[in-house]
Amino acid sequence: MILNAIKLDLRFHYEHQRALLGYLRDERTLRRQDWVMLSDAVDVLGDSVVIVDGKEQKFRQFYSELIDARYADPFLARLVTLTDAEEEGRRAQAAVAQEIGRLLDGAEGFSRDNNDCRLLLVYCLYWWAAFARGYIFEVIIFRDLAASGLQFVAHDLTRREERFASYDLLLLGLRGDIKHTTYFLTADRLSLLDSDFFITRWYIGREWPRVAILRETAWAVLSLPPCDDQRRMATLGEVALILPGASVFLIDSLALTALGYDQWKQRVLMLQLAGDETSDE
């Protein structure tokens, strides 16, 4: 592979570089405006151009064609066979990240002394981490749901076409997505998702408790006596204080309910068992 040139998007500037370095070093040091800058930096880098073997493509296309196409399916095929998806999955994720580094290092014209090349590597590793962490969490949740006795239909993430399905699982007739972080909870991203509920993690202090986030359609199915509609209105900051209890918060004008994952599972189980009894009669 010959890396002929990199043309950073002209919108990429000093503050972007600063936010990226701050994030890579320690994301906890980022202030609110730094997160805005980081998000913009990743977007702008995605629009930057790399010319490889004479072919001009944007960073995001380069990632899709060279990194995702080469590493994603083998990683997932291995991930689903691991006994400890979390620990072994993280090691597999890190091994692929090292491999991505070696792949770029091996390209003629690539040098870690060059800032543009560094940014291409950072872009690829940023998205690889997001991809791998997301699927590790998904496998962990699928296994936990099965171990808890919930009935659900999950997409087969080793099949590429199923991986790109618009939802990850079906349960009680509701479509669900498993999200490794709450980054999807923005009005823009939610507008692209049509799932009824999401399983995610809500960072509080030094912990990441698992949380179910429900649209009103899903809450209507899950609200059961005696806990019918026991929800408190909350700001985003207050959700963490109420968890694992249920709270309603707004993203733009969209009402969402946050509920502890274990509490959500109990409600689902109750409904599924009640449904089984009804069908047995």
Binding site: Q33, T181, I204
Partner: protein, 91 residues
């Protein structure tokens, strides 16, 4: 956050930064901070309307280029989202 950028790092420091990032667990950020930041970003973002034109050739949608978004046959990219079009013909 320091005033340094990735460019300012020695190659050795950059390699160490990458090694540490690869080994790092997950992003430690409280949703209220991140999501408030993103809400600000979304509000500040101007509404942009673009028009994609193209033709259907052998069942594939071929967009006219240059296009205002990155496009491929049956595919377009909007921000970090790859949109793959799978349309059905209905008589």
């Amino acid at each position: 956050m320091s005033e340094e950028t990735i460019q300012d790092l020695t190659t050795e420091d950059f390699n160490q930064l990458i090694d540490d990032f690869v080994a790092r667990e997950d992003d430690r950020i409280e949703p209220s901070i991140f999501l408030t930041a993103m809400a600000e970003l979304e509000r500040a973002r101007a509404v942009r309307e673009v028009e994609l034109t193209g033709r259907v050739v052998n069942g594939e949608i071929i967009f006219d280029t240059p296009a205002p978004l990155l496009v491929e046959p049956n595919t377009l990219y909007v921000g970090d989202t790859k949109v793959t079009l799978k349309l059905r013909l209905v008589a």
